[in-house]
Symmetry: C2
Subunit: 152 residues, 2 copies
């Protein structure tokens, strides 16, 4: 029996993107892309992975529409990898993940990389889930329901 290879057809939005970013390196590549990295060598130096798998991950991210390649920038005949709008839209996810990790995976006195407001240098506000009318929602205040858009 083949291994569970894909979540493409899952109706759950948590499952479906796992093919694109469910692997360990992809999220780190996206993080670096947000940080301004664009060149193959920059990613490789930052992440320290083998070139073949970096190549594979990059292609996968392009195939899933999170990155796209642009021809040059310096005269070279190579590619640069930039976030698409789909990739950029991961910003809140990454920010929430950062906050969760800082709170639960770091000792209070441990040095860490923080996401801050560029203008003020202050850390960004804690991500919260709100109702459509602005109340803060806890997990218990929410439910998962099936939504069938009318195909009018």
């Amino acid at each position: 029996m083949p291994r569970r290879t894909s979540h493409e057809d899952a109706s759950c939005p948590v499952a479906r993107p796992l093919d694109a970013i469910g692997d360990g390196w992809s999220l780190l590549i996206i993080r670096d892309a947000f940080d301004g990295l664009r060149r193959f060598g920059e990613f490789q130096k930052s992440l320290g992975l083998a070139k073949n798998i970096l190549s594979a991950r990059l292609h996968s991210l392009v195939a899933h529409g999170l990155l796209h390649t642009v021809p040059a920038s310096d005269g070279s005949a190579y590619q640069e990898y930039q976030l698409t709008s789909k990739g950029r839209a991961l910003f809140p996810v990454l920010a929430a993940l950062r906050q969760w990790s800082e709170e639960y995976f770091f000792e209070p006195d441990e040095t860490r990389a923080r996401l801050v407001d560029r203008g003020t240098g202050q850390p960004v506000a804690k991500v919260e889930i709100h109702s459509s009318d602005g109340r803060v929602l806890d997990p218990e205040d929410t439910v998962i329901t099936m939504y069938r858009p009318a195909d009018a």
Copy 2:
């Protein structure tokens, strides 16, 4: 050379939790836990994975402090798996991931599972990143900086 086995010592909060939730199944188990699932068999039925790997994942999540086991609830001699506060704190991450996925991985007319306010039935508000004084921040408005807490 050993494969990169762990991100435990990374100073980047994006990297460090990958050992705990970077694998494909863990996030889905957490999702199901938010959904109220607690028993081994419930998870297995929902996810359709082999019992040995479910067992391994569950143990890993317990070891990383996202789940904890409680003795019974019905008289049986078995365990139930519940989210810890650390696991519950993943709520905004999961919610942000859901929203991103719904927007970019589903066709507009495609049926999907949505996170809604239990009281009103309305979908939760879109997750945004705010500055400490309440402005909405785009990726460009932010920077990553190293933070060294004073060890007073």
